[in-house]
């Protein structure tokens, strides 16, 4: 495409300089503080961080909720993607538009809507009491359930988009062929659909998991300080205690978790070959 290699490099240079100077360098400096103790390099900050029971709880909760949201999004996402790809092109466009629509609405507005829905006088509690499942409203706000629902609603579209894209590339006759050869729907999914759409699952899973780990607004509003996650703990350390070292440690852990999740999902996808 280019007459020589330098032309391509020249085109990439502005973006590389921009990213290097304004993103990688400041982030590198910030994260490096988390490895510095008394003018020397050390991992003691991480050891001290890991020893604190609150940090352990917050780390495990973040991991658990991220994994639960990603798994639930995958289950719902596969069902939705299968339906969408089997619609005629006109209906597919409309439904796909509805899936994308929430992404165009501010996460703050979407999260505040959950306060109304999940509150004591919200529609969920109205329904629970209307159906006679409880005499008094149950508390959903400021629990892990509320954070889970908020994150799932926030990131499910990303999973559906990834899976729809992957399923559109599925050969049209693959599923009918498997059915004709006697496979039940479970076998069709595990032996045909899953192996052929794993790239979409890896992409969607990474987006949803890392999104859930790094989301701030939703855990802050729906969980508050009773359901701290790593991102809300990071904010608390910076804004309340001016503790940039702990914040750097948390940021490094979050980046590590995001990369690990991506590598793990890729490895799982590769192992199924």
């Amino acid at each position: 495409m280019f007459h020589n290699r330098n032309e391509g490099l020249a085109l990439a240079l502005p973006a590389a300089i921009f990213t290097g100077l304004l993103f990688l360098l400041p982030v590198g400096i910030l994260l490096s503080e988390a490895f510095q103790v008394d003018d020397g390099w050390s991992l003691m900050g991480y050891v001290d961080f890991a020893k604190k029971p609150l940090n352990q709880k917050v780390f495990l909760r973040t991991l658990k909720l991220g994994a639960l949201v990603a798994m639930t999004a995958a289950i719902i996402g596969y069902a939705a993607a299968f339906c969408i790809t089997n619609l005629d092109s006109k209906a597919r466009g409309r439904v796909f538009g509805l899936v994308v629509l929430p992404l165009m609405i501010s996460p703050v507005a979407r999260t505040y809507a959950w306060i109304v829905i999940l509150g004591r006088t919200g529609i969920v509690n109205d329904a629970i009491m209307g159906l006679g499942l409880s005499d008094t409203p149950i508390r959903i706000l400021f629990t892990e359930t509320a954070v889970f629902l908020g994150l799932l609603q926030l990131f499910l579209p990303l999973m559906i988009i990834s899976l729809v894209s992957a399923m559109e590339n599925l050969p049209k006759d693959a599923i009918p062929a498997a059915r004709v050869l006697g496979a039940n729907w479970f076998q069709v999914f595990t032996k045909v659909i899953l192996p052929l759409t794993k790239e979409g699952l890896v992409m969607g899973g990474t987006l949803v998991f890392t999104g859930s780990l790094t989301a701030y607004i939703t855990p802050a509003i729906l969980g508050g300080s009773k359901v701290l996650m790593l991102e809300t703990l990071l904010y608390q350390r910076v804004n309340v205690a001016n503790d940039f070292v702990s914040a750097g440690i948390i940021a490094t852990i979050l980046i590590g978790m995001s990369f690990s999740a991506n590598l793990l999902l890729k490895r799982i996808a590769t192992a199924r070959k």
């Binding site: 604190k52 029971p53 609150l54 709880k57 306060i115 109304v116 509150g119 004591r120 006088t121 508390r139 706000l141 400021f142 508050g224 300080s225 009773k226 701290l228 608390q236 910076v238 804004n239 309340v240 205690a241 001016n242």
Partner: protein, 341 residues
């Protein structure tokens, strides 16, 4: 040769543009972000007119603003700051704030005694007091003691302030007193809160968050600063301000000058103006902050929405700034280990 007249004209033009800016003094102040439009009308604009100078206003939360003062200690970019008394003490212990020459503060004698030297060494002056008590739904519950916050009447429908905010330690202090304990060892009180943690809806960080939760009927009782009472008073729901038998908690915000800022004369003028009868009255009438100047006279109706009057101010249970600074890390540690699950 022909260029000379043009250059001269340009130099004169540049000088004429630059001169007014050079002549006008500037004073940089660091303030809370709240009610800035009202402060502009009541304080900033009148002061600029009076001194012929320009005020540069920097806002942010306390931690950000304190970090900026500390980061620029060698060459201060902030001349005057307003902050809580205990945060001021933290700055004083780092030798970041100047000793005030009170002979330059003409309003000094008009201040309530508690506001005259709140952190010692004349390093700060109180400019406002705030009471803290419990706001509650009078149709659903009756609050008569700080101990009621952990009682069955509000079980599952009470919120407490987070320990990391200003209201958190005040609430612990008052629950501690209600349980018959004294001093600033809150270990048992934190244990009590931890025991009831599942009955507490949330530990809020901002009063605006609480206003929303109470208007949504999620919460029916919570401790809050009097400065937030206006948001509850205008609600359609029947909110009441408790007068617990242990009294109301209280706090004070102070005004201070950074050390070595090089702008001391103007800073003194500004501090004196803020504490004057005229400005303190205007600020109170705008319902921005309650006065620390005892000469301020307001109507009974206005007084009801402020922390106003010697009797109330003298009755406030104010935690000593040194006690907060010396114990805060331990309280947060205990809170994080026991209450946050």
């Amino acid at each position: 040769m022909k260029k000379t007249p043009h250059l001269s004209a340009l130099a004169i033009l540049a000088a004429s543009v630059a001169m007014p800016a050079m002549a006008q003094e500037t004073l940089t102040i660091s303030v809370y972000a709240l009610a800035q439009d009202a402060y502009k009308a009541a304080l900033y604009d009148p002061f600029e007119k009076l001194c012929g100078c320009k005020l540069v206003i920097e806002t942010g939360n306390s931690v950000e603003r304190m970090a900026k003062i500390e980061a620029n200690a060698a060459d201060p970019v902030i001349d005057v700051a307003v902050i809580s008394a205990h945060d001021a003490l933290a700055l004083a212990r780092k030798d970041l704030i100047a000793d005030l020459d009170i002979s330059k503060i003409s309003s000094y004698d008009a201040l309530y005694p508690a506001a005259q030297d709140p952190i010692g060494g004349h390093k700060a002056l109180g400019y406002t007091f705030y009471a803290s008590s419990i706001v509650y739904r009078s149709d659903l519950v009756k609050i008569e003691s700080w101990g009621d916050l952990l009682g069955n009447a509000v079980k599952g429908r009470v919120a407490l302030p987070n320990i990391t905010g200003t209201q958190g330690p005040l609430t612990l202090d008052m629950i501690n007193r209600a349980a018959g304990r004294s001093g600033v060892d809150f270990t048992q009180t934190i244990n009590d809160v931890a025991t009831h943690a599942d009955d507490i809806v949330t530990f809020y960080s901002r009063s605006s968050e609480l206003v929303q939760l109470m208007n949504q009927e999620e919460v029916i009782a919570a401790p809050v600063g009097r400065f937030a009472w206006g948001s509850f008073a205008k609600s359609n729901l029947p909110f009441a301000w408790a007068e617990p038998k242990e009294g109301q908690a209280g706090g004070m915000n102070v005004i201070l000058m950074t050390k070595g800022n090089g702008n001391e004369d103007l800073a003194y003028k500004f501090i004196d103006y803020w504490l004057s009868d005229e400005v303190q009255t205007r600020v109170a009438e705008a319902k921005i902050d309650s006065p620390a100047n005892k000469n301020v006279v307001v109507s009974d109706e206005l007084a009801a929405s402020l922390t106003y009057g010697a009797e109330l101010i003298n009755s406030l249970q104010i935690l000593a700034p040194a006690d907060i600074i010396d114990n805060r890390d331990a309280w947060v540690e205990q809170w994080n280990n026991k209450v946050i699950k």
